[in-house]
C-alpha cells in the first residue's frame, strides 16, 4: 500500500443501511432560487419517493460548510416540531458517500429511524467570480493564500490543469482523451431530461475546436456552475422493505485521505487520488471486485478526474486512463464501465456529488433516463480533494 495517504479504519456496516428515497431539485444555471428553496424541493421529492411524511424523518445529515439544511430549516418548511437527530457528517462531496456510515450508527442505536442527507448550492445565482464560489475555501487557506495564490497558482482549474499536464507528461495522455470524457458526459446528459445540458450536443471535433482557457484545459474540461441539490433517505433494510421503492442497500463503504490534504502542489504522486485507499477498502467490505461494478458515478469537477478515478478505482492500470476513456469505456450503453450516466458535473449539474448518489440509486432501481441494462451493483466515488469516499450500493 502506498504511503502518501491512508484508508480510514471503519467498522463493517455492510447490510445495515438502505436508501429508501431519493430526490433532486430542478437543475439550472442562475435561477434566482435560494439554496434552502433548492434543497427543500429535493427533500420534498425524496420524501414523496420514499412515501414518508415529514414527521417521520427523525434524523438529518448535512455538512456545516456552505448552507446546510438543518432541523430548524426542516421544521420551518414542513411545520413540524418533533425531535430530530442531527449529524454534521453528511452533505455532498465525499460526505455524500460516507454519510451512510454515520447513519448506520444512529439506526443501530435507535436514535433515528429515517435519516435524510441533503446538499445543495446556488452558486450559479450567487457569484460571478471564483471568490464566493468554489475557490473561496482555497483562498481562505492562509498557506495557499501566501504561497500559491500570489504567484497565480489558484483556483481549482489551475490546480487540476497542472495535474492534467503532469499526467500527460508521465503517461502520454492527450487532449483528445480529455475530450473523450467531455463528449461521453454530454452524450449521457443528452439522454437525461434533468440535465442542464440536455439539449446541447457535443462532438470531439467541436471539443478540439474550442480555445484553451488554461492550457491544457478548455472550458469544456471544467464542470458547470449550477443551482441545484439533492437528498436521500436512509433507513434499515428491514424498514426499507415496507416503503415504496425497490430498496437499495449499502454493501460497503471506504474513506481515504491524502497526507498532504488539499495541498496538491505537495502530493506525491500528484496524479493519484485517495481513491487508491478508499476503493479497495469499500470493495473488501462489500465482498466485490472492480469487475463486479455495473455502474460507476464519480465526483468529476474536471475531465482529468474521471481518468484518475477509473485508474485509482481499479478499472484500468495507472496511466492507462486516457486510452481507456477514449475507447468508449464510459458509455452507458456500450461501455465496459458505464460512468456518470446522468452526465456528471460536466453536463448534468455541478451540485457537488449529491446527484451522483441519487443517480446511482435510480440506476439500481432501473428508473434512470440513461439506464444501464440490469445494473445490480453501483459505486459512487466521492471526492473532496484531499479525501475520498467509495460507496458500494446493491439492488436488494
Amino acid at each position: 500500500m502506498p504511503d502518501w495517504g491512508q484508508r480510514v479504519e471503519l467498522d463493517d456496516v455492510s447490510g445495515q443501511v438502505a436508501i429508501a428515497g431519493v430526490g433532486e431539485s430542478d437543475m439550472s444555471r442562475a435561477s434566482g432560487r435560494s439554496t434552502r428553496e433548492i434543497v427543500g424541493q429535493a427533500i420534498d421529492r425524496a420524501l414523496a419517493d420514499a412515501g414518508l411524511a415529514p414527521s417521520e424523518i427523525d434524523g438529518l445529515m448535512y455538512h456545516p460548510w456552505g448552507e446546510p439544511f438543518t432541523a430548524a430549516d426542516f421544521h420551518a418548511r414542513y411545520g413540524t416540531r418533533h425531535e430530530i437527530w442531527e449529524s454534521r457528517e453528511g452533505g455532498g462531496m465525499h460526505w455524500a458517500g460516507s454519510a451512510p456510515y454515520h447513519a448506520a450508527a444512529a439506526l443501530r442505536s435507535g436514535r433515528a429511524r429515517h435519516v435524510l442527507n441533503s446538499f445543495g448550492v446556488a452558486w450559479a445565482s450567487q457569484r460571478a467570480q471564483m471568490l464566493g464560489g468554489p475557490g473561496q475555501a482555497h483562498a481562505e487557506d492562509a498557506t495557499k493564500r501566501n504561497l500559491e495564490l500570489p504567484l497565480g497558482w489558484f483556483p481549482q482549474p489551475v490546480y487540476f490543469a497542472t495535474i492534467a499536464r503532469r499526467h500527460m507528461i508521465d503517461f502520454g495522455t492527450s487532449e483528445a482523451q480529455l475530450g473523450a470524457v467531455a463528449v461521453a458526459m454530454r452524450r449521457h446528459a443528452n439522454h437525461n431530461r434533468a440535465a442542464v445540458m440536455r439539449d446541447r450536443a457535443l462532438t470531439l471535433e467541436q471539443y478540439l475546436a474550442e480555445p484553451m482557457i488554461l492550457d491544457p484545459f478548455r472550458k469544456l474540461d471544467c464542470c458547470l456552475i449550477s443551482d441545484g441539490g439533492g437528498a436521500y433517505v436512509m433507513t434499515s433494510p428491514e424498514r426499507a422493505r415496507d416503503l415504496r421503492p425497490p430498496p437499495v442497500e449499502v454493501l460497503g463503504l471506504g474513506v481515504g485521505r491524502s497526507a498532504t490534504g488539499e495541498y496538491w502542489a505537495l502530493q506525491d504522486p500528484i496524479t493519484s487520488t485517495p481513491q487508491v485507499f478508499s476503493a479497495p477498502a469499500a470493495y473488501a467490505m462489500a465482498g466485490i471486485r472492480a469487475a463486479d461494478v455495473d455502474v460507476l458515478t464519480c465526483y468529476d469537477p474536471f475531465t482529468i478526474h474521471s481518468i484518475l478515478f477509473v485508474e485509482d478505482m481499479g478499472f484500468c492500470a495507472k496511466g492507462e486512463g486516457g486510452p481507456f476513456v477514449a475507447s468508449g469505456a464510459l458509455d452507458f450503453e456500450t461501455g465496459s464501465i458505464p460512468y456518470n450516466p446522468h452526465g456528471g458535473h460536466l453536463s448534468h449539474a455541478y451540485v457537488l456529488g449529491i446527484a451522483h448518489v441519487v443517480e446511482t440509486v435510480r440506476q439500481l432501481r432501473g428508473e434512470a433516463d440513461a439506464q444501464v441494462a440490469d445494473a445490480r451493483i453501483g459505486v459512487y466515488g466521492g471526492y473532496t480533494g484531499g479525501a475520498t469516499s467509495t460507496l458500494v450500493l446493491g439492488r436488494a
Partner: protein, 144 residues
C-alpha cells in the same frame, strides 16, 4: 482576507521569512534542526515534532519544471492585466521541494517537462492594491 490581498500577508508568521528573503533577492526554504525540510511551513516539524523555529536555508535557485498551465481566463479580477501567464510547479535542486510559482521569460511552446530553470525575482503588483512584493519566479536557465 488581509487588506493587501492578493499580495502575501506580512502578518502570517509561517511564510514571513520566505517573503522577507525574497525581498532581499534570496530564495530560502525552511529546514528543521533535525534535518527535515518543513514544507509547507508549519508550527511544528512533521518529522521530529519540535516547535522550534526552522532555519531558512539559502537555495541556489536552480530547479526543474515539474508541470504548468497557461492561464488565459481571469479567475480573480486582480489578475486581469497579467493573463496570459504561465504558472506551475517547480522542483528545487537541493531540497527537491516543490514550489508553486510563475514561469517568466519563456514562450509557452518552449516549456517542457524537466526544463532547467533558475530563480528570477519579480515584483508582484496588483491593480487597486497598494504596495508590492518581490516573488521568486523562474525562467529557463542559461538562455536555453
Amino acid at each position: 482576507m488581509h487588506a493587501a490581498f492578493p499580495l502575501p500577508d506580512p502578518d502570517f508568521a509561517p511564510t514571513r521569512e520566505f517573503w522577507a528573503a525574497a525581498a532581499r533577492r534570496e530564495l530560502r526554504m525552511p529546514r528543521c534542526g533535525c534535518g527535515a525540510w518543513r514544507w509547507y511551513p508549519a508550527e511544528s516539524c512533521a518529522a521530529c515534532g519540535t516547535r522550534a523555529a526552522p532555519d531558512w536555508e539559502l537555495q541556489s535557485g536552480r530547479a526543474r519544471l515539474f508541470s504548468w498551465c497557461v492561464v488565459r481566463h481571469v479567475f480573480l479580477p486582480h489578475f486581469a492585466e497579467r493573463v496570459p501567464y504561465v504558472t506551475g510547479l517547480v522542483v528545487l535542486e537541493e531540497s527537491k521541494l516543490r514550489l508553486a510559482t510563475e514561469i517568466v521569460d519563456c514562450a509557452p511552446e518552449a516549456l517542457a517537462a524537466e526544463l532547467p530553470l533558475e530563480v528570477a525575482f519579480r515584483a508582484l503588483r496588483f491593480p487597486g492594491v497598494a504596495g508590492e512584493a518581490v516573488a521568486p519566479c523562474f525562467r529557463p536557465r542559461g538562455g536555453t
